[in-house]
């Protein structure tokens, strides 16, 4: 028994090849390694460090109508994706399932998750969570009627887009019947910077002029699309489109504040397109 104990003790520290052959002819290899006893011990978990961040989110429930409030949620950024939308989904999954917000593509192409993050309009799926321990404030798009929490009523915005008739209108049939209407590359390049608009409403809801006249002023998004159809070489109703917009309220409420260009999550410049329409009004 004593010999086995000694053997086990020897096993912990080092292994000696116990050979009965004469030592002169045999090389003794000593390799220190942890034996079976060591393997039974469980590794302590890596020190749990957390990176907590507080999100203040606008809450208002139409079923229990009280004053709207900013509610605090703490999230561990180490277990969350980098974007604000990841944080919102994590809050909804783990902390508060009643948090309501729109989202769809999570890649900045659908425009559903437009909201006001730390004072700036943007898409939640494209806005990175600010590093550091400062609080992030998330509110719905400014000066829009709230349906619930972060969901706003977009019908006025969509109706304004519909009112500029965003489709191709022609008086004559296409030059080769049954085939597409040809357009040169230069004419197609004129549409760059306008066709990429995803109608997220970040620009219109950042424009103070749109805040004060939401029903009469069309807003940067609708005017950007109006310019897209005015500049399309295949469209033949250019003069009628210009006359439809040539109104003191529809177009000329724009005072080139240019908040729209700053807010656009796709990097477009609606202010520049509105300038283009105003120039055409002067010359046309």
């Amino acid at each position: 028994m004593a010999s086995s104990l000694i053997r086990r003790a020897m096993n912990v520290t080092c292994r000696v090849s116990l050979s009965t052959v004469a030592p002169a002819s045999r090389l003794v290899v000593v390799r220190p390694y942890a034996g079976e006893a060591e393997a039974q011990k469980v590794e302590p978990k890596a020190a749990a460090s957390t990176n907590m961040k507080t999100f203040q989110i606008y809450r208002w429930n139409p079923d229990n109508p009280a004053k709207p409030q900013l509610q605090d949620y703490k999230i561990d950024l180490k277990e969350c994706g980098p974007m604000v939308l990841d944080a919102l989904i994590k809050i909804k999954n783990e902390i508060d399932p009643s948090l309501t917000f729109r989202r769809s593509c999570r890649e900045g192409i659908c425009g559903s998750c437009a909201m006001n993050i730390n004072g700036c309009n943007g898409l939640a799926c494209l806005t990175k969570i600010e590093s550091g321990s400062s609080e992030t404030t998330i509110t719905p798009l400014p000066h829009m009627f709230v349906i619930k929490d972060l969901v706003v009523d977009m019908t006025n915005f969509y109706n304004q887009y519909k009112s500029i008739e965003p489709w191709l209108k022609r008086k004559n049939p296409p030059p080769t019947a049954g085939k597409e209407i040809p357009q040169s590359k230069k004419d197609r390049a004129k549409l760059d910077g306008m066709y990429e608009c995803i109608l997220c409403a970040c620009c219109s809801t950042s424009c103070p002029s749109y805040w004060w006249n939401p029903e009469s002023y069309l807003g940067p998004a609708a005017l950007l699309h109006a310019n897209r159809w005015i500049s399309d070489s295949r469209d033949e109703y250019t003069k009628e489109r210009l006359d439809a917009v040539n109104d003191e309220y529809k177009l000329y409420r724009c005072h080139t504040i240019l908040n729209c260009a700053r807010a656009c999550p796709k990097g477009l410049n609606p202010g520049k397109q509105i300038q283009h329409i105003k120039q055409l009004q002067l010359t046309g």
């Binding site: 208002w60 139409p62 109508p65 004053k67 709207p68 009627f145 709230v146 349906i147 009523d153 019908t155």
Partner: protein
């Protein structure tokens, strides 16, 4: 429950009343049986809200007005034949890990 019909009505009260009138007018254009059903649902909803909702809760009243206008626009279309409502009761007991 606010001023009686005789006294001066506030702008918001006038809006609520004109919405109610709009619903009743829309109901008139439907067949008789649907008309009675629409009128009963609409008047019950307006009466319940007038008792429960605080007069000063402008935010909620405006929300209800906007919702009512949208519902009225849908009702006005000739395809719609009536209203119905579903009561979803939120039960706290959910089946967790099963």
């Amino acid at each position: 429950m606010g001023a009686s019909k005789g006294q001066k009505l506030s702008g918001m009260q006038k809006q609520v009343l004109s919405l109610y009138r709009g619903f009743l007018r829309a109901a008139r254009s439907k067949p008789a049986e649907d008309r009675r059903q629409i009128e009963s649902i609409v008047s019950a909803e307006f009466r319940q809200n007038s008792k429960q909702v605080d007069r000063k809760n402008f935010l909620y009243i405006e929300y209800l007005l906007r919702r009512g206008k949208k519902q009225l626009d849908q009702l006005k279309s000739p395809d719609t034949i009536g209203l119905s409502s579903v009561n979803v009761s939120s039960s706290k007991k959910q089946n967790a890990d099963t």
